[in-house]
Amino acid sequence: MTVAAAQGADSAANLVQSVDWLAIAPPALTAAVALTVLIADLFVPERRKPLLGALSVAGLAAALLLLVPLRSGDRSTFCLTAEPEVCSYTADHFTLVIQLLVLGGALLTALLSVTELDGGKAAGTGHKLPAGEFWFLLLSSASGAALLPAARDLATLVVALEVATLPAFALVGLKRGDRLSSEAALKFFLSSVTATAVMLLGVSFVYAATGSLHLTEIAAGLDDVPGKLETLASAGVALTLVGFAFKAAAAPFHFWVPDTYVGAPLPIAAYLSVVSKAVGFSGLILVTVIAFPSHSDVWGPAVAVLAALTMTVGNVAALRQAPTRAWSAVRLLAWSSVAQAGYLLVPVAAAAYAGTDQIGSTVAYALMYAVVNLGAFAVAALVARTNPLNRLADYRGLASERPLVALAMGFFLLCLAGLPPGIVGLFAKVTVFSSAVDAGLGWLAVVMAVNVVIALFYYLQWTAVIFRAPETAEDGRPETAAPAPVLQPAGTLVALRAPAPVLAAIGLTAAAGVALSGAPQLVLRFAAESLF
């Protein structure tokens, strides 16, 4: 950049980059709404606070709509004045798909949060979440997440990553007075900051070795690194990847996930499992595929091993969740999200062997995962209203209480497992398998096959619990601890009525899931075309 600036100094006019405002509109609008909400919070009276939620939801929806004019995917901005093809912000198809995922995920999180914010108030337990701060933090994180896939230089990438992550710490710890929440936030914060530090070290090594921060320049630079800098460059590549692997919650950097998810407010856990993960993955994809293709012999096998490890660790841990333990449902979803991260890594590893196009499989899988995982979290949020402990055992009898929600949950879980009737889940897994087979990673495909079977066990177990008849006395189940609030006085029945936004979130995700099952091509098309 300094070099470029020096060259540009010749003429003053060249110093000014022209900014394509439309291209950066989605993240920019989200950030603008975030600031508006923060300021408005100061002036809005307490009883009008729900307006802030409505404003945030509307802002995210508008940001999603702004993706429509960009759909040709050929815009880029913040280009070097001397070399107009080297840009810091590119709105190509990859960017747009990830932005769609991230903003859509944030929108659904917002829908779930509306009731969480109200719910805290109604319960009056002192867990009340501060509305203004909450919405500000959520939107800022979303704007960082939307910026990240468009970033094409390492500085922007790191800044976007931090903008996406820093508010997330606060969101996790927002349940004031909740010991678990603070602990979760601290754990998340410490491990994340360490990862960022490691990544920055890696970035600085790469910059030292190549003399550029732009991903395409780095790719060219890494090809002919001077001999004595070779080690530095390789170390830089490895350290940078470690940082992103942490954000993507790949094993062995996954240990923060379960406690953080349990401690965080439920919508935030959903947000972390989908949006945060997507951020980590898009960062990982950008640096591996665009910046470091010349080192694919280094990161290819590493990512493959990471993928195998991640899915195995996640699935085995998920398998060990006792259904009667407190928060076992969220814990299970947390571990399953670790396992799913493993599947998402497989095409990235395959890209090292068989070219960039494999990335599309990750993107397609991530879209499927985002829809059904958010749906599962939405159902969990609904169940948590009547069963605050959110144990797997609490889902028993859901089918007779709320048949449609139960059907939706069964569908989400089977999509995650990848079995019909979750057809989109099945075909998303098929694309991942086919990328592994295509790249000649037979062993990884077999490891994944075994993992799919392990995963089926706990997903189906959960599904089976949902459709079991409600607990009756004659069942005589040994579990006696923690009496479930089954026998409630008639007065609390009002609280049992499902809130509309949560139902809307469940409905939206279920409709999307069913539509995608009928026409998997809608997401799988990304698996077949080049996104960059």
Partner: protein
């Protein structure tokens, strides 16, 4: 036989595959006014009978409209792109190989729905039962009708969840463990199969079964074929099931409700053998040739193992469960089917397909009968049933006893009944295997299989003796208390079983009705679309 226009045929086939799914969705909805019946339960069970009946009629019309002069040609084909990204096409079609299985599936499911209408297995609401039954039917019918590898996989997987719930919710003792064993075993197999299918599809550049079969493995190197056959074969062998991958089957059968057992044995096992004939034989012949002797060896091991297990169960004092016994006999019967396929000759493969259908009819009938026995006695335990001298079914419920004896002798392969031709032809095929396969090895296998038929006869006759014969106890004369009156065959049971009996006799006396359909198609498959 009758002239039906192509577009109607297309519609019929698409209807057969899709209608059960729509029916399943409709079963979950409340019944519309006018169709409410006596109670919601009765209405939904009637809905099940109506839908499966409509599908059976459609299947029969399809069979009548099928051009019997050209059974090797794919008929009633539909070919539309579904998922362009994965090159998945909704490619449907029937030929002489799939048509009998399609009709068999439609028939057995209809009979099961009819049987359940009168005798619903104990368990939760019939609504879910009917919906699951219909999804199961759709999955099986789709398996036999699709001509795209990935769609085949999808259909193959579609039956898992409904079957799991049928066993786990409506089953007998130990149903949870059995259901888990069933689904995890088969899923592990089918995921491995998926890897094989992907390997084939990615190397050949297409997932279309017809194109791949016409290619006859020319587009695939031998090493790819060997890996693919191994992977696909494991998945199919688990489903079939081939010894030693069979251990899920006895548990699943013992725990499943009657209807579940009938469909499991009658239809779902066929999905495995059908896959061998439709996918492995034509698409990867070189790989198959490598593995054929091993497949044949496992097949005859299964025949002997199944028979010996049955003999052990049938022994007095062994405490053998009749359902478990029939499940083991299925392992033996499927061994004959696999032996026929492994011979890679038209005779053997025709025999295998014939034995497939015959096994579906006869074992379906057997499971119905044992289910009826279990309902009457409250147990299927052979020792409890037979007591000291025998259950004396001939004396106490002569029609039931007669039917059981009929099904047993049909199962042991009495000439003149359906069980005979398939096993006979399979052994003929194995006696003279295709070029490139070791003749002495296959002759040995044939000899062992022949011995297996003797063992089969032995245990089935023991079962008949212990269940049907014996001294009729006088009411109240024994210390075990008064013997309950046994109801003989009910009307609905007769309705559900008669078609199976009739078809068993028909296929036994007039095998050409089936062989005429399968033979040209098999010739074409083995020749790689050249003839």
């Amino acid at each position: 036989m009758i002239d039906i226009s192509t577009s109607v045929m297309q519609f019929l086939l698409a209807f057969i595959v899709a209608a059960p799914l729509l029916g399943a969705a409709a079963a979950l909805l409340p019944a519309p006014p006018g169709l409410r019946g006596k109670s919601p339960d009765q209405a939904v069970l009637r809905h099940g009978v109506t839908v499966t009946g409509a599908i059976l009629i459609a299947a029969i019309v399809l069979a009548l409209g099928f051009d019997h002069d050209q059974p090797s040609r794919m008929q009633a084909t539909t070919d539309i792109s579904w998922i362009a990204a994965l090159d998945v096409r909704i490619h449907l079609g029937v030929d002489g190989i799939s048509l009998p299985l399609l009709v068999l599936t439609a028939l057995l499911t209809f009979l099961c729905a009819l049987y359940s209408y009168f005798k619903l297995p104990a368990g939760p609401s019939p609504k879910a039962f009917v919906a699951l039954l219909l999804v199961l039917e759709s999955g099986t019918l789709a398996t036999f009708a699709v001509l795209d590898l990935l769609l085949f996989f999808l259909a193959f997987e579609m039956v898992l969840i409904p079957m799991y719930f049928l066993i786990a919710r409506w089953g007998g003792e130990e149903r949870q463990a059995a259901a888990w064993k069933f689904i995890l075993y088969t899923l592990l197999g089918s995921v491995v199969m998926l890897l094989g299918l992907l390997l084939v599809g990615l190397h050949a550049g297409t997932f279309d079964m017809v194109a791949l079969a016409t290619d006859n493995g020319r587009g695939l190197s031998t090493s790819v074929q060997i890996t693919a056959v191994l992977a696909i074969g494991i998945g199919l062998a688990v489903k079939t099931p081939m010894w030693p991958l069979h251990s899920w089957l006895p548990d699943a059968h013992t725990a499943a409700p009657t209807v579940g057992s009938v469909l499991l044995a009658g239809v779902m096992l066929k999905m495995g053998t059908y896959g061998f004939v439709r996918i492995i034989l034509p698409i990867a012949p070189d790989g198959m040739r490598t593995f054929a002797p091993y497949l044949a060896a496992f097949a005859v091991a299964g025949i002997i193992y199944g028979s010996l297990a049955c003999l052990a169960l049938a022994r007095q004092g062994a405490g053998g469960d009749l359902k478990r016994l029939i499940a083991y006999s299925s392992v033996g019967h499927m061994g004959f089917v696999l032996l026929g396929i492994a011979s890679m000759t038209p005779t053997g493969v025709n025999g295998a397909l014939f034995a497939n259908v015959a096994h579906g009819l006869i074992t379906g009938l057997l499971f119905f009968l044992v289910g009826a026995l279990k309902d009457r006695y409250g147990t299927a335990d052979l020792d409890t049933l037979a007591g000291a001298t025998g259950a004396a079914l001939y004396g106490r419920a002569p029609r039931l006893g007669g039917l059981l004896a009929f099904a047993a002798v049909a199962s042991l392969g009495l000439p003149g009944l359906a069980g005979f031709w398939g096993e006979m032809l399979a052994m003929f095929g194995a006696f003279d295997p295709a070029d490139g396969l070791s003749r002495p090895a296959f002759v040995t296998f044939t000899a062992i299989a022949c011995f297996g038929t003797l063992l089969t006869a032995a245990y089935l006759l023991i079962v008949v003796r212990r269940v049907c014969m014996g001294v009729v106890q006088q009411a109240g004369a024994e210390e075990s208390g008064p013997t309950p009156e046994l109801a003989d065959v009910h009307g609905y049971e007769l309705a559900a079983w008669t078609p199976l009996v009739a078809l068993t006799v028909l296929a036994g006396l007039w095998p050409a009705v089936l062989l005429g359909l399968t033979d040209p198609a098999v010739q074409k498959l083995l020749a790689g679309g050249k003839s």
